[in-house]
Symmetry: C2
Subunit: 461 residues, 2 copies
Amino acid sequence: MSNNSDNLDFFFNPKTVAIIGASESLKFGYTMTNYLLNSSFKTYPVNINKEKIFGYKAYKRISDIPEQIELAIIIVPNDNVLETVKDCVKSKVKGIIIETAGFAETGIEKYVLMQREIEKIAKITNIRIIGPNCVGITNFTNKFTTTDVEFDKLIEGGSISIIAQSGVLGNVVVDWASSQKIAFAKSITLGNKVDVDEIDMLEYLEKDPYTKVITLYLEGIKKGTQLLETLKKVSKPIILLKNGRSEAGTNAIKSHTGSIAGDFKIFKSLFKQIPGLFQVDNFYEMFDIAQIFSTQPLPRGKNIAIITASGSLGSLACDQIEQNGLKLAQLQHSTIKTMKQYSPNWTSVRNPVDLGPSMFATFKPAITALMNDENVNAILYIFAVPQKPLEQFSLTMIPHFRLVNNLVNQFRKPVIICVFGSRWTFDYILKDSVKYNIPVIERTDHAIKALKMMYDFKKLQ
Amino acid sequence: MSNNSDNLDFFFNPKTVAIIGASESLKFGYTMTNYLLNSSFKTYPVNINKEKIFGYKAYKRISDIPEQIELAIIIVPNDNVLETVKDCVKSKVKGIIIETAGFAETGIEKYVLMQREIEKIAKITNIRIIGPNCVGITNFTNKFTTTDVEFDKLIEGGSISIIAQSGVLGNVVVDWASSQKIAFAKSITLGNKVDVDEIDMLEYLEKDPYTKVITLYLEGIKKGTQLLETLKKVSKPIILLKNGRSEAGTNAIKSHTGSIAGDFKIFKSLFKQIPGLFQVDNFYEMFDIAQIFSTQPLPRGKNIAIITASGSLGSLACDQIEQNGLKLAQLQHSTIKTMKQYSPNWTSVRNPVDLGPSMFATFKPAITALMNDENVNAILYIFAVPQKPLEQFSLTMIPHFRLVNNLVNQFRKPVIICVFGSRWTFDYILKDSVKYNIPVIERTDHAIKALKMMYDFKKLQ
């Protein structure tokens, strides 16, 4: 095979799986074991002390399993991991995911050396290893996972993939995203990276037909030059969050020396020069932006129209549009004329379009006129209606969202909804808009950053 | 009386109220009318076309009411407002709140002139006027409001007051805050400011015993020098959000000329020089920070300790601590020794304190040791536990929060909880922590900005 990353499919769609250290008591790996054993993925539990796990025959060692295993998931205590890896080598697995923590990250010599041993094994065999100190892989398309994912809470058909290092975070990100109805394609946590790293996974995701947008959370960087080369080659948009401190590896004190902060700054500026790579400051920004990238067409220009019922939020957004190097669209006279027909004398018919309390009546003609306006490349809809009238009048947005979806498909201009209000209001807008593929987020600044990045990405094509 | 703002109490606790334009049909003012008529505030509905409103006798004009009225709330259509104001003058009210929109903000000459007339009336009489184009006042302590507030959804005993200009926003902010369990003292929306402005209200809130923190949302500035003087005199912390574009008043195109952006920048830098005044970028930041200011003691130094179960979020927070000019606390050896006793060999006992999955067992000794550490001035607790184990094991944080509350009171060091996860997780932490007066927010950057501002504010004392 021409490329190492061509081999990685068995991590995402394994024919046979062994869970080594599987347990039915309520501890790490319990949910994943229960899920995989009862899934369509052919899974064998391995536990030296058990006869049965969740009613399935348990094997003492991986070599006892009467079938060739493609993927081994290791969740035994750290002291037993090295021996288990050696067993897997003998059994000729294709891939190993070591989820167990307690290696180099502890700073304790014994475990640092143990990790080094595992690293050597990966080098001298053909076996690919993910981890240790991670929660492995989730494939949201075929619903294979090596961690706890409640697939029924998630939206299907997502095209955002995640590469991250840390374990807990992988799960928590998915939790957060499920509340925001953000849909994923694949998620990969790499842990301490004895073998498989972000370079392998970037190459894999570049070819993955389900992945449209890549989100990358980077802590330590081991192969800087190669990483930069790979990032340049990837044709899909990459949203990057780079952590500064972790350059220091396991020592928090060292991490505050100037040289390390310097490295961080150098990387930040090197990353800035890579077209199609966009840096963000936190996870909220990362996934809001990825969600917009993954659901909306790219804007063909930088002229933004705003529709809102709150003049204040509208003009705060104008500040952010200017700060991000975008422009407030200058509406055509015909657009203003059309909108005026539907508005009370005292509403503001210019950009931002402030519909005031008449919003529910005037939204449809307003957004249709804006979509038809050649001077408008993207629309930001800032929803800020108090909860009470929404409840009282049982106002529904569904016909509006259906129209927006049609207009987006017809004109290929992105629309983003920003909601400011109670969580009730947010969920009320979210539950209907998601069916029409319209992103809903809380913060206008994220929406505007996304539009800038998408505009820059469009220019590359 | 020595000061105009001494007179403003009738806006917040009026002895008698008239609602002019009161209606029992489902339109603007409906909920407020229903609420006030059935409240302990002596309220008279005025409507030229009605005999009764919600079962109460309606009066044709304010002069028909058989009692002296202190506060008139005007919600008649814009064309009838001027005449109504004149009626109120004859009836010798102390204050008027004009909620009706459709004046200078429309840019239409007729309504610009009408507003100017009202402005003149305010100047030549002793009557104080708030508005037009606003939702007036809410006093969260005595539950008087001139807008729709669902008091039963809100936390009582708040000490944050809000001065804002726009109407809708006032209600939506309260909606949002109720989801975040942020408690308020007073909220004031000023609208087009024909008379009462932010200067009056800053002076009023400075003396208000219920207000500890002032949040100020500014659009246009009319009396710049006087505003700067007043801001300097206020001894309470002020969190300011300044809108740039609205300098342009009603014309969106003019607002993009260089001179206006210049004005905005000049104000931004003038504000920067005022001690105790802190500028923020959006409403989320504003109220998260105000909430922390209002519930936590001021830090006596800039050394921050972090407790978390997510190493990644911990080190991202370290970046933000450095960016904000704060420091990661260097823990005393005794602190580390104490924490080590309670931690598995592989958890990280340094700052950030990464408790990993052992968090629920080790949180109590860890936070106690950190509070006892003289090198620690404030604690950030980043909660990032997946939802599943929280549900599965019915883990409760109540004993932890009780301890935190005791420690905060004993050591006078601030504690902030940042939650990353699903909305379920956020609400799960929030519902218990609020009883113990511990702020819970989503974003570590807001927490760290708040600590920096509080540290700067502490230095002023």
